[in-house]
Amino acid sequence: MTLSIRTIALATAMTAALGAAHAHNAWLLPSTTVLSKPDTISVDAAISNDLFVANHAAMRLENLQITAPDGSAVKPESEAKLKHRSVFDVPVATPGTYRIAVVNGGASASWKDKATGQPKRARGTAESLAKDIPADAQDVVVTQSIGRIETFVTVGKPSVPKAIGQGLEMVSTAGALTDLAKGEKATFALQIDGQPAKDLEVTVTAGNTQYRDKLAEFKVKTDDKGQFSVTWPAAGMYWIDASTKDNKTTLPQAKERRLSYAATVEVMP
């Protein structure tokens, strides 16, 4: 089967525009995660290779969701999409832990056009795909995806953010998601749709990758309870990510669901 130049270009363009999860890291970087008084914090959102240098693509903020400790939604302020990063302010006014997340869900399809025999692709929501795929398409493959990129900020005494229960998410098992310190061991749990995500590989990478020769990321597998532990070697911002796939799709044609999760946490000295 030969791929036309146009199809390759289209596929490449779509991959670049999305900042494909496997090729680049998508991250949120808060100015701080611990506050003793209500204030406004600033968050960078970008897709890049270096953590946390915005040198590739700005993250789209259409699906930005900020949740206050009491579960209510918070509106970001002064959102701006710059060339290589998006930035927004979050007013954190009440005590507790805030969740700041970009949640991307969608579906992609590839098929063979019956008339021309050309491979075709489309991406979008379940509804838009239904219109894009012709009725006589052959070899239709539909994949769904849910991706969550998030970080946490606490004012005063930490609280436990309400679990999402959908897709891949991380919860703190002991202590808070913003209560991390160098030399201490933190234990987290990964869940898929609220259930423990067992035997899943998690990668933890310290920030400032541009200032060292080795990425020095550490990989750890979740246990039967979906838990994994990290003992922080140094203070700084860390990026935790994991991805997997299963077949719990909502689209009837979709055989596969891709789940991804990324979180930025701050480790204090």
Partner: protein
């Protein structure tokens, strides 16, 4: 025995420059004199910790008690979290101001603090640590720890020194 005691009390009072204590625990914290172009008085917290790092009592917290409402320069509680160890161990569970505990930042010099009798009465017997943490705006952070036994078997005085943000810390114990 009685004669020795009555001599000791005024001697200690002369050392601290304060009235002799009835009983219990007192400390003297030195805020060092520093030569920097932009100097801000440090935020300081002093507390008593158990061996498992839980906090038995917060003895003193010095911070910028001004707030924007009563003073445009006031930062209030904004930088309390920079007293990182105190903040995580107990600070974020407390509501300041606390009568007899919190107060304004202090200038360079030696400052006496006393733990109220009501608080010392609540200290269960055992090993403790007296911890002082200082954080300075456009400056550093330092923690000084003095271990002690409670109740003290005899009148005792211990001291430790910081090297950058804290001077001499003296802990005085009276049975």
């Amino acid at each position: 025995m009685q004669v020795r005691y009555s001599l000791a009390a005024p001697a200690l009072a002369a050392l601290f420059g304060a009235p002799a204590l009835a009983a219990g625990l007192a400390a003297n914290i030195e805020v060092p004199r520093l030569n920097t172009s932009e100097y801000h008085r440090p935020y300081v917290a002093a507390w008593i910790e158990r061996p498992d790092n839980s906090v038995a009592a917060t003895v003193a917290v010095w911070y910028d008690v001004r707030t924007r409402t009563n003073n445009p320069e006031g930062e209030g509680t904004k930088w309390l979290k920079d007293l990182r160890q105190w903040w995580r161990r107990t600070g974020r569970d407390l509501e300041v101001p606390i009568d007899g505990v919190t107060g304004a930042t202090k200038p360079a010099g030696k400052h006496q603090i006393n733990l109220a009798d009501a608080a010392t009465a609540k200290l269960a017997p055992g090993a403790y640590k007296f911890v002082v943490e200082a954080a300075r705006e456009v400056g550093g952070r330092e923690v000084v720890t003095i271990p002690f036994q409670w109740p003290p078997a005899k009148a005792d005085q211990q001291s430790a020194s910081g090297s950058s943000e804290l001077g001499e810390i003296k802990l005085e114990l009276k049975p």
